[in-house]
């Protein structure tokens, strides 16, 4: 991973995007996260170095409590690092204010969670549309149709989350996460609450997103079979990455 050191952060407009670019879309440098539990500091991350190239799909595996979710929250700008840097599409999150990280998240990050986390009062359609609204460009019917068709949600859009199966809810959550074409899709055990059949559907869709549309994906999983759907797998233990060798 030596090449990453020479890369300079250029303004977005001056860079050539696309899967051929060698510049990581996402990079962490010696990333630390400490939680304060009473008077003691609990280190969840202890110097994570990670680089993800545009168009790459990466699975992060590791035992419970090793810091996977913490890493994802830092990458997505939901939390502030204790030490080290996170670079998303050339932007250094560690130097950004809360409001700036929120804005970055709005434009460049999509989240998918284990618990689906759909807004219970809105229909499937409303859950996807609110992401478009928050993005700021308003409702884009064309993009909406493309995404909902791709995820097979056409018949289910008027339903509330409580009226959808787990698999359907997670597909709505994926639609919501990608509706604004984020640079990076972050998924935290997206199949953790699904049965085998629905897990396979969701994983196949994530892979399709990556292969057909070049969506960069970072996914956390416990499950080696799930991880196998992805280009590259890294393993974490006790707050550090214990390998990082590309699988291909």
């Amino acid at each position: 991973m030596q090449f990453t050191d020479t890369i300079q952060t250029l303004p977005e407009t001056e860079r050539i995007p696309g899967p051929m670019s060698l510049e990581p879309i996402l990079k962490t440098e010696n990333l630390w996260k400490l939680y304060h539990a009473g008077k003691v500091d609990v280190p969840a991350l202890r110097g994570v170095n990670l680089a993800v190239l545009p168009g790459e799909s990466l699975a992060i595996m590791g035992p419970s409590g090793c810091g996977k979710s913490s890493l994802l929250y830092l990458i997505g700008g939901l939390a502030q690092a204790s030490r080290g840097r996170v670079l998303v599409d050339g932007n250094d999150l560690s130097t950004m204010s809360d409001a700036e990280r929120t804005k970055l998240r709005r434009h460049k990050i999509g989240f998918v969670f284990q618990r689906f986390n759909l807004l219970p009062t809105l229909s499937a359609e409303g859950n996807i549309a609110i992401a478009q609204h928050l993005h700021g460009d308003g409702f884009d019917p064309h993009r909406f149709d493309v995404v909902t068709k791709m995820l097979g949600l056409e018949g289910r859009l008027k339903h509330k989350p409580s009226e959808l199966s787990g698999g359907e809810q997670q597909r709505v959550a994926i639609a919501r996460a990608i509706i604004n074409e984020p640079k990076i899709l972050l998924a935290d055990e997206p199949t953790g609450n699904l049965d085998t059949k629905n897990s396979e559907i969701v994983l196949a869709m994530l892979r399709q997103l990556n292969k057909d549309m070049g969506q960069t994906i970072v996914m956390i999983t416990h499950n080696p079979e799930a991880a196998a759907y992805f280009d590259r797998i890294v393993h974490m233990r006790d707050g550090v990455i214990v390998d990082g060798v590309p699988t291909d």
Binding site: A99, N117, A131, H133
Partner: protein
């Protein structure tokens, strides 16, 4: 889109929304009815006093415009002095007695002939003018409210009166008895609470006022023409404060219920707030969404409250026909504005609290 989210959120917990709306409705109705009742009562009383038809009313020093509560009576001889004045056509003394048995009433003890001279006289709907010492005249509203009929015996001030006439309302009081009888009854022989003065022409009111002021310095002299403008809550000691206190109380109810409702909403939706933040919603969005929710709830409550005000007024007027409750567009708007400000204020702390939630903690909340 935010409107849709807010609307859906309100529908999600219909009972909580209904309770919040009801609290706002009660707040609005309380404000509208308290103000409406006092201003209705004042306007109606003022109109009745104006309607006597006299030009000037003389009262003892420092007398209240609430006539029933006027201070110690004046010697009746004053009437003679007034009659001697230039431009004075007629003078009528009246003794006012406040009675609280079976409702609040002001009884006018009047001298039949001079009262007829200063006023344009009663319009008799039934019966005749008073002749005997125990005769009682009742106006149509009081007759309806108290179910008094012509020829009835009516007890007030521990005295039995004969109802000899039903007169049209609008002549000062609702109940009239002979002056002498009332003076004896209340132990105020040769006394009067007010003198009503009729000038030869209305334009002479100022002149006559000057003359009275000259011989009776310190006495309260009121031209009846602008009695209506005097009868406002600001002119009645304590009333303004009382109304304001009642409004504050009503606002406190609305504010506390909205606060509690939004506070529980924010706690209940902790994870949703985390989700919105993960989607890139900033603090402003969260605050706006919750304030909008409170405002929407409040607006529904205001509509309900306006309906409630008219409904309660109708019910009160059916039960108490002599009441007068004035609902004005101005006060409906004011009550609505007060409620809206209260609702935004009540929601502001919960909204602020929500906007500050840590997104990761919020996402992990069950």
């Amino acid at each position: 889109m935010m409107g849709h989210l807010v609307y859906r959120n309100l529908l999600h917990r219909p009972l909580r929304t209904l309770i919040g709306m009801t609290a706002v409705a009660v707040e609005v109705a309380l404000v509208v009815l308290i103000v409406g009742l006092t201003s209705g009562l004042l306007t109606e009383t003022a109109k009745r006093i104006e309607g006597i038809g006299a030009d000037i009313m003389l009262q003892p020093p420092a007398a209240s415009i609430f006539l029933g509560f006027s201070g110690s009576p004046m010697p009746i001889k004053i009437a003679d002095k007034l009659r001697e004045m230039k431009y004075v056509q007629s003078v009528s003394p009246a003794l006012l007695q406040f009675s609280s048995s079976g409702g609040v009433d002001v009884l006018y003890g009047i001298d039949r002939d001079s009262f007829r001279a200063v006023s344009s006289g009663f319009v008799f709907l039934e019966g005749r003018d008073m002749q005997g010492p125990d005769d009682l005249l009742v106006d149509d509203w009081a007759a309806k409210a108290k179910h008094i009929k012509l020829g009835d015996k009516f007890r007030i001030l521990e005295h039995e009166w004969n109802v000899v006439g039903i007169v049209e309302h609008g002549k000062g009081a609702r109940l009239f008895v002979p002056l002498a009888t009332l003076q004896d009854l209340v132990g105020a022989r040769d006394k009067a609470s007010i003198f009503l003065v009729k000038c030869t022409r209305p334009e002479h009111t100022g002149d006559v006022t000057e003359q009275i002021r000259h011989i009776l310095p310190g006495y309260t002299i009121r031209p009846l023409k602008d009695f209506l403008s005097l009868m406002t809550s600001t002119n009645i000691p304590g009333l303004e404060g009382f109304i304001n206190a009642m409004i504050a109380l009503a606002v406190a109810i609305g504010l506390l219920v909205i606060f509690l409702s939004m506070y529980t909403t924010v706690i209940e939706r902790t994870r949703d707030i985390g989700v919105l933040k993960s989607l890139g919603a900033d603090k402003g969005f969260i605050i706006r969404a919750l304030l909008a929710e409170s405002a929407m709830l409040c607006c529904a409550g205001i509509v309900l409250g306006v309906g409630l005000s008219y409904g309660l007024r109708a019910a009160f007027l059916a039960a108490f026909p002599t009441l007068s409750i004035l609902i004005t567009a101005g006060w409906l708007l004011k009550a609505a504005a007060i409620a809206l400000v209260g609702a935004l204020f009540g929601a502001s702390y919960p909204a602020w609290m929500a906007s500050r939630k840590d997104p990761v903690d919020a996402l992990l909340y069950d």
